[in-house]
């Protein structure tokens, strides 16, 4: 019985393997066919012109700019802006959650066509990608415990500071404390850094104002206060495209101008940040 079932098993597996090999061969034989017909399809394609869906990369852990809701949809200020821009520009977009670390690489490699992720326009970043006109004014903000004595950025020089790896917050703190400072604790996301502040692991967190304020509003038990410092330069967020993709960039900029002109932008802004952006610049409105 035992030997019989072993033999059966062997036969069955032999059959399976041959079957697999055959199907593999079959596939190999088949592949040239569609490949051969592909050029034909491509040639006839321009007639109906299938709308290209632009893939937008975003690190959806950065509320209120982008986050994932319970229905697994990516939502937020940035998302609404890009959707409105896309509508004006007549293009189709699809959002894909992309981790911050490495997000710029996805653009260079063509995995994503656009990036919108509260990305500050900096000269360094301009070297590797192109930015749309700015769509949001932001500023760094310091979050500390409510009883902290910190009043300005310089006082963080000798303190433990939490940041999100590779953000502009990381950059300014690195500049203050030095490249190899052991006092900078880098986290994967700003909320994680703020969580660490809550449990006393760091003395302060430096990050974009919008995100810190959102965290404080959602975690009333966290007992943080925020410290604004004039030393922080004003920053502007831009929508990034692959370097040299002037065609797409033009569409985006046109759409951006359109939604600013017809009041769509103000509506979105008011929905997420309350005040109208034209009356009070975002940065000062948020950090006061």
């Amino acid at each position: 019985m035992n030997t019989l079932s072993t033999r059966r098993f062997l036969q069955a597996s032999a059959l399976l393997i041959t079957g697999f090999l055959l199907s593999a061969c079959g596939k190999k034989a088949e592949t040239p066919a569609p490949a051969a017909s592909a050029p034909v399809a491509a040639a006839s394609a321009p007639a109906p012109a299938p709308a290209k869906v632009y893939v937008v990369g975003t690190d959806a852990a950065y509320a209120p700019f982008e986050s994932e809701n319970t229905q697994k949809e990516i939502v937020g200020f940035d998302i609404d802006v890009v959707k409105a821009v896309a509508q004006k520009a007549g293009i189709e977009v699809k959002f894909v959650n992309t981790p911050w670390e490495g997000i710029f690489n996805t653009l260079a490699q063509g995995d994503r066509d656009l990036l919108v992720s509260a990305i500050t326009i900096t000269d360094e970043r301009k070297q590797t990608m192109d930015f749309s006109n700015p769509y949001f004014d932001a500023q760094q903000l310091i979050a500390v415990k409510a009883n902290s004595k910190v009043t300005k950025f310089d006082e963080l020089k000798k303190l433990k500071v939490g940041v999100q790896t590779g953000t502009t917050g990381d950059e300014v703190v690195t500049k203050l404390q030095g490249k190899t400072s052991a006092n900078i604790k880098r986290f994967e996301s700003t909320p994680l850094a703020l969580k660490e502040l809550e449990s006393g692991g760091v003395d302060a967190v430096v990050a974009d104002n919008g995100v810190i304020i959102n965290y404080v509003t959602n975690n009333s038990g966290s007992k943080f206060k925020t410290v604004a410092d004039k030393a922080f330069q004003n920053e502007q967020y831009g929508i990034a495209v692959k370097k040299g993709n002037a065609d797409l960039l033009g569409k985006i900029n046109k759409g951006l101008a359109d939604i600013k002109a017809d009041g769509t932008y103000d509506k979105i802004y008011a929905q997420y940040f309350g005040a109208a952006p034209a009356a009070a610049p975002a940065a000062s409105a948020a950090s006061k």
């Binding site: 490495g102 790896t165 590779g166 950059e171 604790k185 880098r186 994967e188 449990s199 006393g200």
Partner: protein, 250 residues
């Protein structure tokens, strides 16, 4: 492909202290993991041992076995990454928190979390994880020794503890060694996950550079070589523990 190694220059100290941190982390985790593993391994293999004479001891052993089963199931069945985040952002704040810490509160808690928090959480998570795997290595090693060996020891008048110590474990250890070395190598590599909680270890050094320059070849290739050096060193050291052929009875 252009490699710009010069971007690493300013970050040298970060890689050196990161390497040192990784070594410390894995050494602590291997030692603690071994201790946990031996303890829990002995408990879970105690099913084969003669039942203790006192009822209380028998019950204690039963409880210990149930606990071991739960522990091993949890730590072997969930991702280490999740365990690290769970320990650092959920368990530790419960125990050590400036305002509400159960074990440590106030200034001392703040001080502890700032200077040792991430290391402690990381080492704890790694040790608990390693302990679960090592206890299974021990159980398997002990159970792989034929029952006749223990029975022969008993008939020679050895107690269970003595039989374990002099007869079973020395033989089992030789069989466990490759698996233990594997676990050690895994630990060295998995320690990189601890960078998620902000510990400045080797992987964090690379992430810092990658974050600053958006360049990935140079920093990650560098730490790959460093991790490789560590794992090779461990397997070389372990080779010296292995019995030479003539001791293996060939």
């Amino acid at each position: 492909m252009d490699l710009r190694w010069e971007i690493l220059v300013g970050y040298g100290p970060l890689f050196v202290t990161g390497l040192w941190m990784t070594v410390q982390l894995t050494v602590v985790a291997i030692v603690c993991g071994l201790v946990l593993g031996v303890l829990f391994g002995l408990v879970s293999s105690s099913l084969d041992a003669p039942a203790p004479k006192s009822l209380a001891l028998a019950w204690a052993l039963k409880v210990a076995r149930a606990f071991t089963l739960a522990y091993v199931t949890f730590f072997r069945g969930t991702p280490l990454f999740v365990q690290i985040l769970l320990v650092h952002f959920a368990v530790m704040p419960l125990l050590i928190h400036p305002d509400t810490g159960l074990l440590l509160a106030g200034e001392a808690a703040r001080e502890f979390r700032q200077s040792h928090g991430a290391f402690f959480s990381g080492a704890l998570a790694l040790s608990l994880n390693a302990g679960a795997y090592i206890s299974e290595i021990f159980r398997a090693g002990i159970q792989s020794i034929h029952l006749g060996q223990t029975q022969a020891s008993y008939s020679l008048g050895l107690t269970h503890a003595q039989a374990m110590r002099f007869i079973v474990l020395p033989q089992a250890f030789r069989r466990m060694l490759p698996a233990l070395v594997n676990e050690g190598i895994t630990l060295i590599k998995d320690s990189s996950l601890v960078s998620a909680i902000g510990l400045a270890e080797l992987a964090m050094a690379a992430r810092t550079v990658a974050g600053a320059y958006s360049r990935y070849w140079e920093p990650y290739l560098t730490i790959s070589v460093m991790y490789l050096a560590l794992t090779l060193l461990l397997s070389l050291l372990a080779k010296r523990l292995e019995a030479p052929a003539h001791h293996r009875g060939r």
